[in-house]
Symmetry: C4
Subunit: 337 residues, 4 copies
């Protein structure tokens, strides 16, 4: 069952059908600087993440685990992450905790990416009803499984509503996050999965999350994906999902809302498809950017390193053409909307 769901997620996410809406990043324009006062080779994209140097402010998005295909994808993502010096998330690890035989599909990440920062992953509904001790055990298992530098908890209420086997349980989530923040030895990241984090939610997360990842609308839509999964067996769920397929905060708006309300670092994601999108996100104030679907497609083609290299080149060019020698200079680059 979980196997089938995970693989469905992968194939539907890789298809253009699941990519909808508008991240609003096309409306953000970085202003050309005719006189960059530097050579292209002077552009330095390096920065640090969780205390370690990385080659650019980019993180491979949270995707998968739990199946054979997931294992292969995770291994490929991890190899490229290590080769190019970028951090990576894994997908939700509940399956790895409750099904020991699924663990290997996550452990390959540790094996193939020993030095870059890795991020463990759990879902908010799945932890919302766990008592303190069990929650801490789950969190520690998830972290240890991949030798993670941080734990991410994803908030996905829209996905849970339209998922045939969904668990739309969000009572106590804030309380459980506060407990994790107090008890965990690694930093806590709170993320969405494609519907975005508003300024109200970002504000609530101050003092609770160390980092937030907005995962806004405009790229992979789990409302659409779960709707498509339900289409045959539960057509009325598919139709409900259709009404809500535009639901969510466009990524560019979510970045601005999150930066305005949250005091820590913000990761931009959701429909970021190239390094120019990434540069715009950084220009809007994000500290890092992340992408999932393009790397999923690259992993299926065994071309992850090429995809990340191209992302890096595009970021370098955008920095050069705005006269940004260092990543943080992008924030000062003039922009128009």
């Amino acid at each position: 069952m979980i196997d089938k769901r995970k693989n469905d997620h992968i194939f539907l996410a890789a298809s253009p059908e699941s990519q909808i809406g508008d991240s609003w990043l096309d409306e953000v324009v970085l202003v050309h600087r005719a006189l960059p006062e530097l050579d292209l080779d002077d552009v330095d994209t390096r920065t640090t993440f969780l205390g370690r140097e990385i080659s650019m402010p980019f993180i491979i998005g949270a995707m998968t685990g739990g199946t054979e295909l997931a294992e292969k994808i995770n291994a490929r993502l991890a190899k490229a992450a290590e080769e190019l010096g970028v951090p990576m998330y894994v997908g939700s690890q509940r399956v790895g905790i409750v099904k020991p035989e699924a663990r290997r599909s996550f452990e390959v990440v540790k094996a193939n990416a020993p030095t870059v920062p890795k991020i463990a992953n759990l879902g908010a509904p799945q932890i919302s009803r766990l008592p303190d001790d069990q929650l801490l055990r789950w969190a520690e298992e998830a972290v240890n499984m991949i030798d993670a530098a941080a734990l991410a908890v994803h908030l996905n209420p829209a996905q849970e509503v339209f998922q045939p086997e969904g668990e739309p349980y969000f009572k106590n989530v804030l309380d459980r996050l506060r407990f994790l923040k107090r008890s965990l030895r690694v930093p806590l990241i709170v993320k969405e999965v494609g519907n975005g984090i508003s300024k109200e939610v970002a504000g609530l997360l101050n003092g609770v999350a160390d980092i937030i990842d907005v995962a806004g609308a405009g790229g992979t839509s789990f409302v659409v994906i779960e709707g498509l999964r339900a289409k045959e067996a539960r057509p009325e769920l598919y139709e409900l999902a259709q009404e809500f397929k535009g639901w969510g905060i466009p990524t560019a708006a979510a970045i601005c809302e999150a930066k305005a309300a949250f005091k820590g670092p913000v990761i931009a994601s959701g429909g970021i498809r190239n390094g120019l999108d990434g540069a715009k996100a950084l220009g809007l104030g994000a500290d890092y950017f992340s992408a999932s679907q393009p790397l999923l497609k690259a992993a299926l083609d065994d071309k992850v390193a090429q995809a990340i290299s191209r992302m890096l080149k595009e970021l370098r060019i955008a920095m050069f053409l705005t006269g940004a020698a260092k990543v943080q200079d992008l924030r000062k680059a003039p922009k128009v909307f």
Copy 2:
């Protein structure tokens, strides 16, 4: 004659041709709340209407009566209203007053929906020239015919202009409404039929109507319907109607205008096609929402309960995803336009 007109109205209203314009509800966006802090099951859509509890702030729109087909539709609507615990309007009752044999088509509503609040209905032009005693007699007959909890008077000047047998008489309407307000033992609702109520009119109705129903543009258009009815016999009337087919205040605008100027409860209607539209209307400040055409189509298919259930599910989801545990919380949910 009236028979033919009523049935024409039904078939033309059920066809997509009669659905035109834009309610502007698509421009209203409820902001996603990644952290609802409640379970989907915690969402409570119940509220009260005219002192009675109803299962959601939704009212079946005013439609029909007077013919055999109308009787069947009214019976189906009433059954579903009773089953699901929502109020319902009936269509204009003049025919039931002046033609005793037409009464049954309204009385089925009382028979099939004994407990939910029912709303009687008369047209402003038809009452504008009635002296006090006759007006009171008509109003009481209308109320008694369906055991109504309120009487609605509809304002439909645009429809009367383009209706081949139209009665564009709106002099004294305000005076007649004041008389009804003073003399009637049930509350008075004043509604449009698809061209909307402006802030000027909403202001005039303070102290006159207990509740107003904006019935704005963006759904069923009676300018279009009457134009189509005239097409063969009076082509010049059809052409005049074409020039005016965009006439009217989009529902989202009408809600804002009405709430700004009217002190009592406001019902949103006109082009509301699902529970997400309804949630947006409530988010804009409406107290209830109503729909006609989608329920007419459902009644013709004998699927009214399904249509209302789906409306309810969509409302619940929109409430969950904005973190609204109760209906009135929607009003505080952040929105963007």
Copy 3:
């Protein structure tokens, strides 16, 4: 030669090719009034023009004269004007002054419309170089030829530029207008021909013109018409005209500019195609509205009275639906843009 030009103007103006751009009247929305507090029959469209009562604030636009076809058109327009009680312009009368045999094509207007106000017409470039005495003689001849209640002088610099036989002479025009204002026994109207009057020009005309007619862009375009006339013999003129086909002030903007800067009555024209457009123009503050091309087409079909009657009906409906009992009430009706 003039014969051919006049007839070319008629046939090109009647074709949809000559109708371009956007009057912006579609952006002006009169707000529906659900409670008009009057019957449709109470609407009174009558007003006065040049001291005489007319049946609605509408004027048949300035068009033609000088040829046999023009004579027929003028006769038909005049008959309908008289029948329906609306004023009318004639086309430029120079030809009638310099060619005695052309006079009849204007005199039919006097014969067929003895009582309604008629407006004589001369072109600014044609009078710009006339000395005082000759100018006065021309003006008086034009007025007497049709027993005119006013003389209109048209400003048409864009037309003259692209007209193969054009006379782009606008030096001294203001001086010649001042002389006419001083010397003429009838009021002076200054009008454009489809490119609009700006607030700067409207301001200059204070104290010079008694009335101005904005004749804005969005209907008949003489830049296009003259370009099409030049197409074969002078293709480079046709191409120049193509570059400038969007030139001009949209009628809705011109009305606002003219009302803001000019102290006397303002006639709205240019792309007004029905009584709803007319109502919008009056709503924006115009005192009268006028149309040319639709009446030209009606005249060619011998259906002028029908066209004017429909215009009147549309105006009445727009007044009813905004609760305007009298023409000047339209100005107070709420509008949105």
Copy 4:
């Protein structure tokens, strides 16, 4: 090699594929003046450039040199420049400096346009690493080669990034420009090549450049041209260029930014395709306007004089219809955006 590149540039630039984006000049509207108070013949387009009278404020854009085809084009451009009394730029002269046999392709300009102001041309990346003495020698050679009245240095960072043989070296450019300003006996012009000059860069150039040429986005795109050149041999470069094809500041925006920040004269260019575009640019505050691609196409057809004459006629008409007797009056003409 350089031969091939130069000819590729010519053929790709002449094709519509290389013309992309939007100069925003279509959004700028010059307001029609119904009463110009002048005759078309009174319009005077003459002005001065670098101290010499020219027939209109127009400059033939910087294009080519170095090949046989370039020589032919330069000769044709020069002949027309001389015939019609307008200044002209030449293309980058490095090739003429380092390859003596290429010199003739520039010298034809001096031979065919002895009296009008000519502008020499060098690229910023090519001079960024030259020591003082060599830089001065290059600049003097470039000026002498065509008897130039000014030297233009072009800033083209986006082109260099996507050019297969590109030199993205912009460190020290400002310093080298300052040296030229101090040492050169002719005025210094700094220009872009189609991505525009922002207010930040315009501000930096105060006291450094005598004149700036914004060369904004909306016409010829060298990002596109270099991408197309790379398509076969380096497909990944072509794809990178595709991501950036919208990069750059639209010309109308660049004019406003440059005028706001730069104290000297500003040349408007980038997508200016006729004299009406030119008039709009002057209306926005530019002192001169320039076009390249339309003249390149005209040169290939041997119709340069006709193209410039048409540009002149369009400018005259725009001046007449805004009541501008002299070029500087355009700046006071009302405009809307």
